[in-house]
């Protein structure tokens, strides 16, 4: 009898702690939104949760979510990169040039494209940290520079995926039904651990949260930032290559321009990453990207024109930013 009485408040306290822990997680609100959208769209259209449609959503999510992972790291360290979409557009061309013009074998050509992307990130990082140009401006310049390189070298024509990469390589790296989502989930899992459980992640948070303090603690702030610029560029190239393999063509307008970049930043922000640096979540960015992809897909399914989609996306960004500000104020005063 007394045991049962004692257990009841214990159970309630446990449930309460679990609830508190859930609410305190930055991913909580976007997870609730994602689940809500699934329920709503499934109710509105029975096609929503079919295998074919889920594949559509997965394919719309994966490449941009991979870019968003890099964006989260960069935002957490207090910087931003708006040139990453252009790296994504350029990377498949670099592979195509290497294979078709210089007879480089397929795998080294892909690695070469990733290495050049890393070089772009290195330049972005060095200009930002050594020459103290704000990263928004650095990467704005890099965006136009790469756009020029892309249009000049490709003459703005799309090309076919080079023969040597066709076959199992192309299937594994993006053309397979669930290939892009599998890579995306792998990248998210690995970098979630990197951000939360490794020295690099801890230093990335420190550099964004308190740059002077991080320097005083002996952390090489510039090195961490440059590393994250390189990370986002390489992930951008991965996303661009994956898209080229999936649609089986290399197109200067795919991924290119600002769309991948802005959607990735939107996903990161909706997922709970603050632009001011010091906090962010990789899993949240994935959920944020799912939400954006589901909105676009669901509107199509239930026959709403795609045009109001951007209206919803805009509102989603504003609402999540306002909620973030409010939540971080709560956290600071210790009431969360």
């Amino acid at each position: 009898m007394s045991l049962a009485v004692a257990r009841t408040p214990g159970g309630a306290a446990l449930a309460r702690r679990a609830w508190d822990g859930f609410v305190r997680r930055r991913e909580a609100s976007v997870l609730v939104v994602a689940i809500g959208l699934v329920i709503y769209f499934q109710a509105a259209s029975p096609l929503f949760l079919t295998g074919d449609n889920l594949r559509n959503i997965a394919q719309a999510t994966a490449p941009t979510a991979i870019v968003a992972v890099g964006i989260v790291f960069l935002l957490v360290s207090g910087e931003i990169d708006i040139s990453v979409g252009m790296v994504a557009a350029l990377a498949p061309y670099l592979m195509h040039y290497a294979i078709d013009f210089y007879r480089v074998p397929a795998v080294p050509a892909i690695l070469l494209a990733l290495a050049i992307a890393a070089g772009v990130g290195l330049v972005n990082g060095l200009i930002t940290t050594r020459l103290r140009v704000p990263s928004f401006v650095t990467t704005l310049g890099m965006f136009y520079l790469l756009y020029g390189v892309l249009l000049t070298t490709s003459k703005a024509y799309p090309v076919a995926v080079p023969e040597p990469v066709k076959g199992s390589l192309q299937t594994w790296l993006g053309a397979g039904d669930w290939a892009s989502l599998s890579w995306c989930l792998l990248v998210v899992a690995v970098f979630h651990i990197v951000l939360t459980r490794t020295r690099w992640g801890l230093h990335t948070i420190s550099v964004g949260g308190n740059p002077l303090g991080a320097t005083e603690a002996g952390i090489r702030v510039n090195r961490v930032k440059v590393g994250n610029f390189m990370l986002v560029s390489v992930l951008g190239a991965v996303a661009g290559l994956m898209e080229a393999f999936r649609i089986n063509s290399i197109d200067p307008n795919i991924g290119g321009g600002t769309r991948i970049t802005f959607t990735a930043i939107a996903a990161a922000v909706i997922g709970g990453t603050a632009l001011a640096g010091g906090s962010g979540t990789v899993v949240g960015a994935l959920l944020g990207m799912f939400v954006l992809a589901m909105l676009q897909n669901g509107f199509n399914l239930i026959g709403v024109s795609a045009n109001p989609f951007f209206l919803i996306q805009g509102i989603a960004i504003l609402v999540s930013m306002i909620a973030n500000q409010y939540l971080s104020r709560l956290r600071r005063t210790g009431r969360s």
Binding site: L202, G208, G209, N210, E216, G218, R220, R332
Partner: protein
């Protein structure tokens, strides 16, 4: 042999001369109090000894060996550790991550969070600091708690030369006692050389073996704490203030 010797160090920031010609020394097991007006260059001197700034002239000797400090990391590897005036805590990180910042314990490639959490709890308990939960973000700590965490971080780092820049600034009476007791314990251990920058002369005389005064970028006074007094120190400091007022 002195654990730390500073010889003829000068530092300018643009047109501003922060340090003219600084000479000082500290032995193991000795606590040196560094006093001086605001803007006398105390924090600049600390930031040169800990590798944050590079001096324009002069040199630093650790255990008699001249060292050219390349950065904070380098200084730390030589056993020089610092509690900065701004504390250098990252609000977004937990207390125990802050305590092991850039000195993380790892298990393979991953952070060994369980070990760091346990050590942080032990260190803070040994110090007598009351922080119920070391997993809370540093943002949630009070001013005194923050200071205690920053001091604990340096004290338990196996530092052989410890620099404390205004360690008592945000402290209540009880918390200040905790820090002063800790310094006394370290002194008793005999293997750590300690430099404390202080504002409060009484506290400085209580804990320090020797007192130096930094004025206009030079050390103008160097005497054992036992041979001076709050009155003498005040008399030394106040005229310089009056002089400057007269000139202005």
């Amino acid at each position: 042999m002195a654990a730390l010797v500073v010889e003829g160090v000068a530092k300018r920031f643009g047109a501003l001369t922060a340090l003219e010609d600084v000479n000082l020394h500290v032995d193991r097991g000795e606590v040196l109090g560094l006093l001086g007006d605001n803007g006398a260059g105390k924090s600049t001197l600390v930031k040169i000894i800990c590798g944050f700034h590079r001096p324009d002239r002069g040199r630093i000797l650790v255990d008699g060996v001249p060292v050219a400090l390349r950065g904070v990391d380098h200084a730390r590897s030589l056993g020089i550790d610092t509690v900065y005036q701004d504390l250098a805590l990252v609000n977004e990180l937990s207390v125990y991550h802050n305590m092991f910042l850039n000195r993380e314990r790892r298990l393979g490639p991953l952070l060994h969070n369980r070990l760091m959490r346990r050590l942080a709890e032990e260190h803070l308990r040994d110090m007598g600091v009351d922080i119920p939960d070391v997993t809370v973000e540093a943002a949630k700590l009070s001013g005194g708690q923050r200071q205690a965490v920053a001091v604990a971080r340096s004290v338990y780092s196996d530092a052989r030369i410890l620099l404390l820049d205004e360690p008592l600034a945000a402290m209540g009476a009880k918390e200040a006692t905790i820090i002063l007791d800790l310094v006394a314990d370290l002194k008793a251990r005999g293997d750590v050389a300690i430099v404390i920058i202080a504002h409060n002369y009484a506290q400085a005389l209580q804990v320090c073996d020797r007192v130096n005064i930094l004025q206009q970028g030079r050390i103008t006074f160097d005497r054992p704490a036992a041979e001076t007094s709050v009155t003498e120190l005040t008399d030394l400091m106040v005229p310089s203030h009056r002089d400057r007022r007269r000139l202005a």
